[in-house]
Amino acid sequence: MTGATLTPKLSLTDLRGTPRRRRHEAFVRATFLAAAGTSVLISLLIVAVLIGQAWTFISQIDLSTLVSDGWLPRRGRYDLATIIAGTIVISAIAMIIATPLGLGAAVYLSEYASPRRRRFLKPIIELLAGIPSVVLGFYALAVIAPSIIQPLCGSNSLFSMGAAGLGVGILITPLIASVAEDAMHAVPLSLREASYGLGARKRSTSLRVVIPAAVSGIVAALILGVSRAIGETMVVSIAAGAVGGSVFTINPCYPGQTMTAAMTALATGSDQAQGDALGFPSLFFVGLLLFGVTLVLNVISERFVRAFRRAY
């Protein structure tokens, strides 16, 4: 009865506001939807461009040139093993440097540093992370190569995969430190207090309670580091040498070529094969490889982060 007396007064349409206001709302919403659509369009374009050109390369090339003695686009030889080996060597050197430094700094900042010291040190780590890679490339060539790599290898060449690897290692250290520190900092205080309550020392608490609790975040940090090292371009382009192509080598004392550096070398023209039209599509083929590898690594890393979030 009461419902019957109310319904004629107010219907749902009365609550929808004036048409002008609704039109305005719809317009704003459509604008933002278009913006979101544009950013998705860009990702689709990247994949489309990469696959299209890479297919041109694969369908036109004599597949035997993909396995030869080196990556020498000028001579039409595209040995994938060479640039993949270069990428692995440089990323491995980078990780050997960055893993202990980054994780050590992360444990110190998260477990040992006083809040005041942490507030002061964390921004400095972030500043270090903000240094452009081209600057570290210069540092690797002008400082690391003559002062560390040349005496160590006894070589005369300034360019080497070792110097590039150390440069990349410095580049990804703050990234690893920052992501791992976030993970450790997010471990609930109660876990630490329980550990202290059992009489554990700070070191045991850090190593046996905090680190295992944050392990998925730490793994995610390391995977992100690898992904960044594989995709790093400028340090390698400047410090690893091998501008005119490279023969297969895994010796860090020698110049070498990574997937990324092979791309800049092709693009800057030093490797541009004038008569050979495949130099250009080969760029996209290498780019597609790089895109695939880093995408897989990033997805795995995200899985780890999500596992961590679910735990707490």
Partner: protein, 314 residues
């Protein structure tokens, strides 16, 4: 007597227990471990100091000596007169494209994803796609720029032009803008929105008058960091047609010709000079790095200050 010695014995036992529990012996393992961790941090920071010291030592003198001349001169194969003027100009134009293209689209996309989109499979897929886009190596964006902006759209961009480079950089930073903006929006408590809806505001009115003002410092901080990133990014510009050597800008060109003409950028100039074997170019390179680092430190420092100033605990 007997009672006294018993209490003495128990006192020494108490003392022993107390000593064992408080661990007054210096535990060398503990000290070593902490020193090791601190060492990691010190090495990481030491590298930063060494880098700055080396760069200043190499290029500082030249920068002071040449002064404004270095900042305004064109690139040249003669190290005595070469400068970074064209690079700074090109970098600023690229930042202009980042600000006018990537910021509106990126912030708009973030507003849609955070405020409008329902939590469906599609939305989660979009979010995942954008997060992964942010992790794609910068050089892959260079390929996008080369394939689309330099070649496919050359009627619009003029080929290897600053428009192509600027749009490439905009595409590169767009996912970063989306992520930082979405984070800032997510930090605004739901109760603010509910209060707005409660007094009859529409969605856009709530966003415009309540959510955005609270999220603004976060969005602004993210934007500054993005600009700083765009200043230092090199690899995509190498692919998207940035000129590495010198080029002469013919006099009396209009805006369209400038935008469609050849360009270089500050990091591209550093890249080019760093590969030159001569000492003179090494010094030039170091001097250009000082300029770039000053710009980037200034931007990042401003962002950190801003974040500390406006950090809000709800």
């Amino acid at each position: 007597m007997a009672g006294h010695s018993a209490s003495l014995a128990s006192a020494s036992a108490q003392e022993a227990v107390r000593r064992a529990l408080t661990g007054q012996r210096i535990n060398l393992g503990q000290v070593w471990f902490q020193a090791l961790l601190l060492g990691c941090l010190v090495v990481a920071l030491g590298i930063l100091v060494s880098l700055l010291a080396d760069v200043i030592q190499l290029g500082g003198g030249m920068l002071v000596e040449r002064g404004v001349d270095f900042l305004t001169s064109n690139t040249s194969s003669n190290p005595a007169i070469a400068g970074v003027g064209q690079g700074i100009f090109g970098s600023l134009l690229i930042i202009f494209f980042v600000v006018t293209v990537a910021f509106p689209i990126g912030i708009g996309a973030a507003i849609y994803l955070e405020e409008y989109a329902r939590d469906t499979r599609l939305t989660r897929l979009l979010n995942a796609a954008i997060r992964n886009l942010a992790g794609v190596p910068a050089i892959v964006y260079g390929l996008l720029g080369l394939g689309i902006f330099v070649l496919a759209l050359s009627w619009f961009t003029g080929g290897r032009s600053v428009v192509a480079g600027g749009l490439t950089m905009a595409a590169l930073v767009m996912p970063i803008v989306v992520i930082t903006t979405a984070e800032a929006l997510r930090a605004v408590p739901q109760s603010i929105r509910e209060a707005g809806f409660g007094v009859g505001a529409t969605k856009w009115e709530v966003i415009r008058h309540h959510v955005l003002p609270y999220a603004a410092p976060g969005i602004f901080t993210g934007s500054i960091l993005t600009i700083s990133r765009a200043f230092g990014e090199t690899a995509p510009l190498v692919l998207a047609g940035g000129v590495l050597g010198g080029f002469a800008a013919p006099p009396g060109k209009g805006i369209v010709e400038t935008l469609q003409g050849p360009y270089t950028a500050l990091p591209l100039i550093i890249f080019n000079w760093a590969r030159e074997p001569s000492d003179a170019f090494r010094q030039l390179s170091a001097a250009a790095i000082i300029v770039l680092l000053l710009i980037i430190l200034l931007l990042n420092g401003a962002a950190i200050l801003l974040r500390n100033r406006f950090e809000r605990a709800w």
